[in-house]
């Protein structure tokens, strides 16, 4: 054999499959674990493979919505099946892994947050199909394509030797040809196998793959065998394209334009919100961070576990869930897969493997749902008339970690210097900034208390060496933060997110509208503008609160009210006779003043409904939605765009926000269930 280079086809006789597995297990002097298909629990799952006998030789699968059965064909084929319930993400992004070890021991250095270091062992992924390699490329973009990467995923991915198998036996639920992900395999493999009558046509995609072929001393595949392999894959493609129901990914891209389509209610009546579709999906990537500790032990861990947008708590914040109904969650899942994934990652989130269809206990078929919504959408329901174009491109090349991508950082330990009680349930912590932590106005940190939680908290003041966090006690973790005293340590991860465009507002009139604790993230804006007062035009600050006693920074608002170069006013929802200020809603303070569209910038923060009213009033008074900046709240776990919780339409609030313009948020602000 001359050269086992890429592009050459070799023949592996069926009886030599065992040799291939032996070589894979020990190839290149490295001991590798081979994960591959095997029959277990009535299905073909991926598990550790010791010998060729572990493979599903002679088995066939029968798949339909809500239905999966194996039957013994009795022939010698080892890969004559379509993908089963396991996805490779189980090995690259495991269902649970310890992300961090934490400690809350006494003493100056007692508070610790130590990320676990990735240590993936060399693994062979044997039997990966075209759609599965496409799914890996999709997850590559999620986990290693951004500024923060999941280093465990990246490590496991780099340590994986991929033996792809081209599909020849599709299931009725496969629609890979719609999503351009299969049945052939074009990239992303070390070795590529195509099963034929008496064995396999094998090709190397990498040098490492070539080495395996060299050590097997294979003969080149003859024309006939190469032709048989090619024809088998082509026939498979033909079946998937012409016999199976498909999806038009370009049309499906518009799914999110029909949020009120009645079909969402129909599918929600069937959907169990059981999470099966998301668990079997090879691209679903959402996770939750679970605090773990035993009794009063000072040490604990943070475990990252698979989560699903179908769970009750997925989009919940202290005030309730943004997606309280099953309808909201199904819509979120489907529109994310087919619509909003595009602006996030440049591809759809679906690879057409059909697992979500097969493993849905009540037989919901995404292909049917997409067809029903995408083809019968009432015109008036469209939220955005803009033409969207683009080709499906699942990216033939595997993504390596993006330049500048860094592992998700652990919290750094800061020390509380001072605690100010703001209201009966709110305190401001002044914290000595740990080295390396930089924050901009409008950004947030994850404020971590070991063993308890790490809620996102906006920075409410920035000074050299210190920052302030104003925390309202709305749950156990924020309550724990509120109980901290001077000298106490706490963890700070971040600062994260897009902040307020204070620099860009120079030369303009500035309006600040705050409601309740929403004044906290706005205070750094006011600080910055007042510190450089001459660079701005008129400056107005309007603050609303529930009662006079619930108003944070009350004394400070008083100093703004005293200034001649600032218009400041506050209003409360209700008051006793001692309150001599206005009573009503915050918009009453500014609605009657006409604004100059070209030279006014507004910064707004408060409950979503209040921000909506404020945006309406500001637009009515002449402002442009592009000049009104808001900061919004969503459930966050990771803060860096990896956990999936904070999605709002196409945005990750943690990464793309939390500060947005009213124009950006327009379609989503206050819309139920988004």
């Amino acid at each position: 054999m001359s050269e086992a280079g890429q592009g050459h086809r070799y023949f592996l006789a069926r009886h030599r499959l065992a040799d291939l597995i032996d070589v894979l297990r020990g190839a290149g002097g490295r001991a590798r674990t081979v994960i591959g298909p095997t029959v277990e629990q009535g299905a073909i799952v991926y598990a550790e493979i010791d010998t060729a006998a572990d493979l599903p030789v002679g088995w066939r699968d029968e798949q339909a919505p809500g239905h999966y059965r194996l039957r013994r064909e009795g022939d010698e084929r080892a890969f004559a099946y379509a993908v089963g319930p396991t996805a490779w993400k189980r090995h690259l992004f495991p269902p649970a892994r310890v992300r961090m070890e934490v400690a809350a021991e006494p003493g100056a250095d007692g508070t610790r947050f130590e990320p676990t270091q990735p240590a993936a062992s060399a693994t062979v992924l044997l039997g990966a199909r075209g759609c599965e390699l496409a799914a890996m490329r999709v997850q590559d973009r999620v986990f290693r394509g951004g500024p923060y990467v999941d280093d465990h995923y990246a490590d496991a991915r780099d340590a994986a030797f991929v033996v792809a198998v081209q599909c020849t036996h599709p299931a009725s639920t496969c629609f890979c040809t719609s999503m351009r992900s299969g049945p052939g395999v074009e990239a992303g493999y070390d070795l590529r196998l195509t099963e034929i009558a008496d064995g396999f046509v094998v090709e190397a995609g990498t040098d490492a793959g070539g080495e395996v072929l060299v050590s097997l001393r294979l003969d080149p595949a003859d024309e006939e065998r190469a032709g048989e392999a090619h024809a088998a894959v082509a026939a498979c493609a033909e079946t998937v394209t012409h016999r199976n129901r498909g999806v038009d990914p370009i049309r499906a891209r518009d799914l999110d334009m029909y949020p009120e389509h009645p079909r969402w209610d129909e599918v929600a009546a069937r959907c169990l919100a059981c999470t099966n579709c998301t668990m079997v999906c090879p691209t679903c990537f959402c996770s939750r961070d679970v605090q773990q500790s035993v009794l009063a032990r000072p040490d604990g861990t943070v475990e990252r576990q698979w989560d699903s947008c179908f769970t009750a708590e997925f989009a919940a914040v202290a005030g309730g869930s943004f997606r309280s109904r099953i309808r909201d969650r199904y819509r979120q899942w489907l529109t994310h897969k087919f619509s909003t994934w595009w602006p996030q990652f440049g591809t759809p989130g679906c690879v057409g493997c059909g697992r979500c269809i097969v493993w849905c206990p009540v037989e919901i078929d995404v292909r049917e749902e997409i067809a029903a919504i995408g083809t019968s959408a009432p015109e008036s329901d469209a939220q955005d008339g803009g033409e969207r174009r683009g080709d499906v491109d699942l990216g033939p090349q595997a993504l390596t970690t993006s330049p500048g991508g860094v592992p998700e950082p652990p919290p750094r330990t800061g020390t509380v210097e001072r605690v100010t009680t703001e209201t009966s349930d709110t305190v401001t912590l002044r914290v000595r900034t740990p080295p390396g932590l930089e924050a901009q106005p409008g950004q947030f940190v994850l404020a971590a208390v070991p063993r308890v939680g790490a809620p996102p908290i906006s920075v409410s003041r920035l000074e050299p060496g210190t920052l302030e966090l104003t925390v309202r006690s709305v749950g156990p973790a924020t309550a724990a933060l509120c109980r901290l005293g001077p000298g106490d340590p706490l963890g700070l991860a971040g600062a994260y997110g897009r902040g307020w465009p204070i620099e860009a507002a120079r030369g303009n009139d500035v309006i600040v509208v705050a409601g309740g604790i929403g004044l906290a993230p706005l205070r750094p804006v006011i600080d910055a503008v007042l510190a450089d007062r001459d660079s701005y035009g008129d400056v107005s600050v309007y603050v609303g609160a529930r009662t006079p006693d619930d108003m944070i920074y009350s004394a400070e608002i008083g100093t703004w009210e005293q200034r001649r170069d600032v218009t400041a006013a506050r209003i409360v929802d209700r008051a006793g006779p001692d309150w001599l200020g206005p009573v009503g809603v915050v918009t009453q303070l500014f609605a009657d003043t006409a604004r100059e569209a070209a030279s006014t910038v507004a910064f707004v923060c408060g409950p979503e409904r209040m921000m909506q009213a404020s945006v309406d009033a500001l637009v009515d008074s002449g402002m442009r939605a592009e000049s009104i900046w808001l900061t919004t709240e969503r459930h966050m776990e990771c803060g860096v765009g990896l956990c999936g919780h904070c999605q709002l339409g196409p945005y990750f609030v943690c990464r793309d926000g939390p500060v947005f313009t009213a124009a950006e948020l327009g379609p989503y602000l206050g819309v139920e269930g988004i």
């Binding site: 156990p476 109980r483 005293g485 529930r546 006793g576 206005p582 009573v583 009453q588 209040m610």
Partner: protein
């Protein structure tokens, strides 16, 4: 009647400066102004009380007027305030013309008042004026309802618990009590 500047305010001047008057033609405005009276009240004064016949339709010229009600156990609760330029006492326009809340001067106020009887007479005689006044009152009420709705939402109130069936939130709050109880003498910061 004098302002700080020493200038005498007349009902006609006052009316011209507020939204109600600005929307009227000059002749109509003068007709309305003729039944108006300028009232000056010190901070804390009650203009009229809940349950009384509403004595007049008022326009705040300067200062702040409060609308309050009495709740047993909570005392007087101010529900909203009326700022300069806006109206109060709208109930004078519709039978039975009884005040639904107490109106008081939060600060020193100057008010342009249109006494009930003469207002009704002048509106009955001039349908165009009546239409303009009613429209103005309706738009003011509309804004007030919108605000009231937002206030009713209690947007800044305490978040409700997110787990109604298995309320770990409640549990942990109770735990916080347990812990506070356990660390009795520890000063809380």
């Amino acid at each position: 009647m004098e302002q700080e500047s020493g200038e005498v305010i007349t009902p006609a001047h006052a009316l011209q400066a507020v939204r109600l008057g600005a929307g009227l033609g000059e002749a109509t405005r003068e007709k309305l102004a003729r039944v108006g009276q300028i009232l000056v009240r010190g901070a804390g004064a009650v203009l009229f009380r809940e349950g009384e016949k509403t004595p007049y339709l008022g326009v705040v010229i300067s200062g702040r007027v409060g609308i309050r009600t009495y709740v047993a156990g909570r005392g007087d609760v101010t529900l909203s305030t009326v700022e300069a330029g806006d109206i109060f006492g709208w109930s004078v326009l519709v039978p039975p013309s009884r005040a639904h809340a107490t109106v008081w001067a939060v600060t020193d106020v100057t008010v342009l008042g249109f006494p009930a009887e003469s207002l009704r007479r002048v509106l009955a005689a001039d349908p165009d004026l009546a239409a303009a006044v009613y429209q103005h009152a309706l738009s003011a009420l509309g804004r007030r309802i919108t605000s009231t709705r937002l206030q009713m939402l209690d947007l800044f109130g305490s978040p409700r618990t997110t787990e109604p069936v298995r309320p770990p939130g409640a549990l942990s709050r109770r735990l916080a009590d347990v812990r506070r109880g356990a660390a009795t003498e520890e000063p809380t910061s």
